[in-house]
């Protein structure tokens, strides 16, 4: 048999991606002090072996700042993705199991939230929670649930209609037991993949909203802050202030997206044939 098939490759890729992400998160936490250290003897240095990402107008090491920003992004991303996925799970299941007006209300809310352009909604939420860290977390967490909630609702509805679940109901199996034995095993992979696929969005929106000035405070070396500040210096040719931090962010988001995509494909029923 083929020893090097798609799934084995996927598992190794997954492990590598996770390792890189953990490494970035840890390095960022360690580099926090270095990221804040100013040194006016080494202002505005272009990238060199000593400072791979260059330095900014206060002589801060851009590599350290980028790493710290990424680690911040990863942590906020994990937190917000987890919260919004949980909201999605609760609302999706509730609306599908209760039906009737509860279903109508949840569906209406989903349409409502999806009707406001995403960035605008995150902005509004972040304002309501007073900007800063709390604002960003609340804004991203409370705005990302609708699409996953819709998926979970559909999934639960489909399971509820499935013959084996209806048979179990007629046989008098308790609802809790049906939920645990029949619904959960199907729902969990869906939920988990949905959760992982939320990471990239969460991280991107955190960076976006911070870039616009509604998120993390300018003192924190968040990627959004770094890029927003870099705008003042781009016209004078200090391209490295924007290019490398942004590229690293793309790298991290790409890793998360790739992990999510691999998991989705592996858990997709049709993937047994690939």
């Amino acid at each position: 048999m083929n020893h090097w098939n798609g799934r084995k490759r996927a598992v190794i890729l997954l492990a590598a991606a996770l390792l890189v992400l953990c490494g970035v998160a840890a390095a960022g936490a360690l580099a926090a002090d270095q990221a804040a250290a100013t040194d006016f003897t080494r202002k505005n240095l272009a990238p060199s072996p000593a400072f791979l990402f260059g330095t900014d107008w206060m002589g801060r090491d851009m590599l350290a700042r980028t790493l710290t920003g990424l680690s911040l992004s990863i942590r906020i991303g994990l937190l917000t993705a987890a919260v919004s996925a949980l909201i999605a799970l609760c609302l999706g299941t509730l609306s599908a199991t209760l039906g009737g007006w509860a279903d109508g209300a949840v569906s209406w809310c989903i349409d409502l939230v999806m009707g406001i352009p995403h960035i605008l909604l995150v902005m509004l939420l972040s304002l309501a929670f007073g900007k800063g860290f709390a604002g960003v977390v609340a804004g991203v967490a409370l705005s990302h649930w609708p699409s996953l909630a819709r998926v979970i609702r559909g999934e639960v509805l489909q399971l509820k209609g499935a013959v084996y679940v209806q048979t179990a109901e007629k046989l008098g199996v308790s609802r809790l037991r049906i939920a645990r034995r029949h619904l959960l095993p199907h729902l969990l992979p869906q939920f988990f993949v949905g959760l992982v696929l939320q990471f990239p969005h969460a991280i991107l929106h955190e960076a976006s909203i911070t870039f616009l000035g509604f998120g993390l405070s300018p003192e924190q070396p968040a990627i959004g802050v770094i890029l927003s500040e870099s705008m003042k210096y781009l016209t004078t040719g200090k391209w490295w202030l924007a290019v490398f931090p942004g590229l690293s962010l793309v790298g991290v988001v790409l890793l998360f997206a790739a992990i999510g995509e691999q998991l989705r494909r592996m858990w997709h029923p049709a993937s047994v044939h690939q």
């Binding site: 048999m1 083929n2 098939n5 799934r7 084995k8 598992v11 993937s271 047994v272 044939h273 690939q274």
Partner: protein, 309 residues
């Protein structure tokens, strides 16, 4: 007379993941042999889930990308390679599929029949074919969702009839129809055979198949277990225990059910797949069972009914 289609030891398997990252080859059709002569209706009868549709797809060269085909195929005496399949399908070799889902839901019947060709000959041929099955010109302007079940079936047969095919492969053409319409639809296939074409009728319904078929190939767990003349059934000249069991399960023959279930793909070992359910099985049935000439037909059994001649 030279047979239209000859299938020798055809096998079709899929590559898929069994557990985790392990990949296995899953055989769905293992050793399938049959012959279709001109003017003949050959029915392939097997219960649902035995991989019958794949036989049709395998002959037409439209198997999914993760499948693998082995064995020998001959069409009009020439080897039937993938290239040849692509040349002859839709012309000398046509498929009549199960139902309305095989028609493009957003395209009117007419353009579907014409296959994108704008010239008049296609229109004339399709009009003749529709008329042959009692469908008027106005049907060309209908969308598939506007067709009744019987109409859809006749449109699908018209797609075959307008091509003047040498081989017609009908894949379960009757489900969802009442007994009268089903018999009418099967009658159309018989007509095609009387016109000189070979008809391969794939069905789960032995009773209906016997109303029009000349020969019957019985299909079990991916193998042909018996080939018989249609008349053998009424005359009691059956060979394989599974054929006997199928026959006995018909309402007019006592409605006797067979105990046990048909093994799925990948659950079959080297020996006879029917052995666990067979009243005549012995220890030797766990070994390889050859497909042999027996009593005027062919059978894959070590303890067949009847005498050799």
């Amino acid at each position: 007379m030279e047979p239209i289609l000859e299938v020798k030891e055809l096998s079709i398997s899929f590559t898929q993941y069994s557990r985790g990252t392990m990949q296995t080859e899953l055989p769905v059709i293992r050793s399938l042999s049959l012959t279709v002569a001109p003017g003949q209706v050959v029915a392939v009868v097997g219960s649902s889930g035995s991989g019958k549709s794949l036989l049709a797809h395998g002959i037409l060269g439209i198997l999914p990308y993760n499948s693998h085909r082995a064995g020998e195929l001959f069409f009009l005496g020439q080897p039937l390679t993938q290239e040849r399949m692509e040349q002859v399908r839709g012309k000398e070799m046509v498929l009549v599929p199960q139902g309305v889902t095989y028609l493009d839901p957003l395209m009117q019947v007419g353009p579907q029949l014409w296959k994108g060709s704008r010239d008049g000959t296609h229109r004339k041929r399709s009009r003749t074919a529709l008329a042959r099955y009692g469908l008027g010109e106005e049907v060309e302007g209908l969308y598939p969702f506007e067709l009744s079940g019987g109409m859809a079936r006749r449109v699908l047969i018209a797609t075959a009839a307008m091509e003047q095919p040498r081989l017609v492969i009908a894949d379960e053409p009757t489900p969802g129809l009442d007994a009268r319409s089903a018999r009418r639809v099967l009658g159309h296939f018989r007509e095609l055979a009387e016109g000189g074409a070979g008809v391969l009728l794939i069905t789960h319904d032995l009773e209906l198949a016997l109303t029009i078929a000349h020969r019957v190939a019985v299909f079990y767990a991916g193998e042909t277990v018996e080939e018989a003349e249609a008349s053998d059934f009424a005359e009691g000249r059956l060979r394989h225990p599974y054929t006997r069991a199928l026959w006995n399960a018909l309402p007019q023959n006592g409605f006797t059910p067979i105990p046990g279930t048909q093994p799925g793909p990948g659950e079959v070992g080297e020996g006879c797949p029917f052995a666990p359910r067979c009243p005549r099985q012995g220890p030797e049935c766990l070994g390889k069972v050859p497909y042999m000439e027996w009593n005027g037909g062919r059978v894959r059994c070590l303890h067949p009914e009847g005498e050799t001649v």
